[in-house]
Symmetry: C2
Subunit: 243 residues, 2 copies
DNA sequence: ATGCATTCGTGCGCGCGTTCACAAAGCGCG
DNA sequence: CGCGCTTTGTGAACGCGCGCACGAATGCAT
């Protein structure tokens, strides 16, 4: 079996789903489920079964026809592909409201992303302890990133400080950034940025709410007008897993 | 001019970008910039200019050839399309770490999403005040949602409580949910759900970091191997706006 | 008034991602 | 040992969204 000849690129959309599969597989493993079909996994993940199979096929042929996927083995393969064979320490920039919640959240280290450091520009914040981590001054960022081998930075500053924070992270050697500030960061192309914009998410929901209310008393369609009571027509996800 | 005949559906990808445009347009308005070209807006939003024009064209023809878009007018149109002509009160379920940060965050009311209520199942949490809002017991959810005309709910409970929280929200009459728990919520198709999964975001970054490290010493490509120092080759976003 | 520069609006081709559908492959039972 | 049942892996069709490229419209200078 050739274990290490695979250097195909995985579609972005698939990469974005792998963490979802991984989490579900982890839960199955905890429940001592030994194998799972693409159908079962699709149900639990709320996606199409063919998509699951195609997604997983990018990693290799790790299923068994007529049976399904061995959970433990698949967990290993997905983790390997995502680069989760070792921890990725992260540094949080901005010890405000959000930085506090993030640092205090155990889920990160649990999933392989220990908060190795928190920095802030405000001398008032420096010296306090968030989630067991001492807040240090942002001027020490480079030293911290270098010595702790940090590749991933989290921007949790105010909007006005975000670009500065990003530039400092890049200068310190960070190559991936998760940005919570409602700002489009300008960084070298070689740096990967992902953003989480809560206000934008709410506005997207607002769009659909608005649209719904237009449809309700407007002209066009149709049935399902003012069904506010609970309609239990689940489209997805009744639990199922073959043992 | 026909103002209200437009019932075309806007592509999901476009809807997701409108909030970004809106934020930038708001900043331009604050800076008293009166008009902006698709090129300028594209720069600031970090996207292609044609995309900006196409996105905006779904709202109608609100630009002026040879000139650009009048900022104030465009703000109005985007807000109208997103349903932001009135506030959308939200209820937060889960008064933990995250619920605390969310409730204490002024940015939401500022953008039209006032935190009208916070509820929790834990009697210990009930009665405390988060961001000026009294935490109430989740059993009061229906009454709260009805009386305050709430359509949008935020799930900020532990993973184990998320499905229960979602079901209670739906039963109370909420039709849009923003979910922070790492769980695939099962709700009626008529309910719109968006999720924010921080661990997944980090894992996606991990994938690209991992890939990068493989490329660096592996076989394939190429230049840009271990360029850790800052390369100032910004692909995007030098400020520009025509006045 | 005419021409020139600018910028919008959009038709069109292309590439990516989703989904269907089916052949290949393994399992278990008789 | 073969047959039928199950489920994977993937070829192929489809649809959506992206971005180029260009015509149309507008403003401004002369
Ligand atoms: N709190 C939330 O729940 C929430 C929700 C959505 C979005 N956000 C966004 O997350 C960001 C942080 O929110 P918050 O509530 O924590 O804000 P905050 O004001 O409480 O904290 C910001 C922190 O960043 C620090 N800071 C500012 N500029 C800096 C810089 N250049 N370098 C280093 N540190 C710097 C400040 O000293 C402060 O401690 C904001 O952009 C906000 O829009 C927060
Ligand atoms: N804190 C963070 O920065 C952070 C980051 C990423 C993701 N998350 C996710 O957000 C969620 C909340 O995180 P947290 O740190 O606030 O957790 P937490 O444990 O501090 O708070 C959870 C709260 O939800 C309440 N709760 C539980 N079940 C409930 C139910 N059925 N109905 C109503 N309330 C219920 C609990 O009483 C508790 O107060 C978790 O799923 C976590 O994975 C949090």
């Amino acid at each position: 079996m050739p274990s290490e000849r695979t250097r195909r690129r995985i579609p972005e959309a698939t990469v974005a789903r792998l963490p979802v599969y991984l989490r579900i597989l982890g839960e199955l493993a905890d429940d001592e489920v030994e194998s799972i079909s693409s159908d079962g996994l699709a149900d639990l993940a709320g996606v199409n079964a063919a998509k699951v199979r195609k997604d997983l096929s990018f990693l290799g042929s790790y299923g068994t026809r007529g049976v399904g996927y061995v959970v433990a083995y698949l967990v290993y393969q997905v983790r390997r592909e995502l680069g989760l064979t070792h921890d990725w320490p992260v540094v949080i920039v901005g010890a405000g409201n959000l930085g506090h919640a993030l640092a205090g959240h155990g889920g990160f280290s649990q999933r392989g992303f220990p908060v190795a450091a928190v920095v802030d520009v405000d001398p008032e914040k420096v010296g306090s302890v968030l989630g067991g981590v001492l807040v240090r001054h942002i001027d020490e960022l480079s030293e911290i990133v270098q010595s702790k081998q940090i590749n991933i930075g989290v921007v949790a500053t105010s909007a006005s400080g975000a670009q500065d924070a990003a530039e400092r992270l890049v200068r310190a050697g960070v190559t991936s950034i998760l940005n919570f500030a409602p700002v489009v960061l300008s960084v070298p192309r070689s740096v990967e940025v992902r953003k989480v914009d809560l206000a934008a998410e709410l506005q997207i929901l607002s769009y659909y709410e608005h649209r719904r209310s237009l449809a309700a008393h407007g002209q066009g369609s149709s049935h399902s007008a003012t069904v506010v009571g609970l309609a239990t027509d689940n489209g997805v996800a009744r639990r199922s897993a073959n043992a």
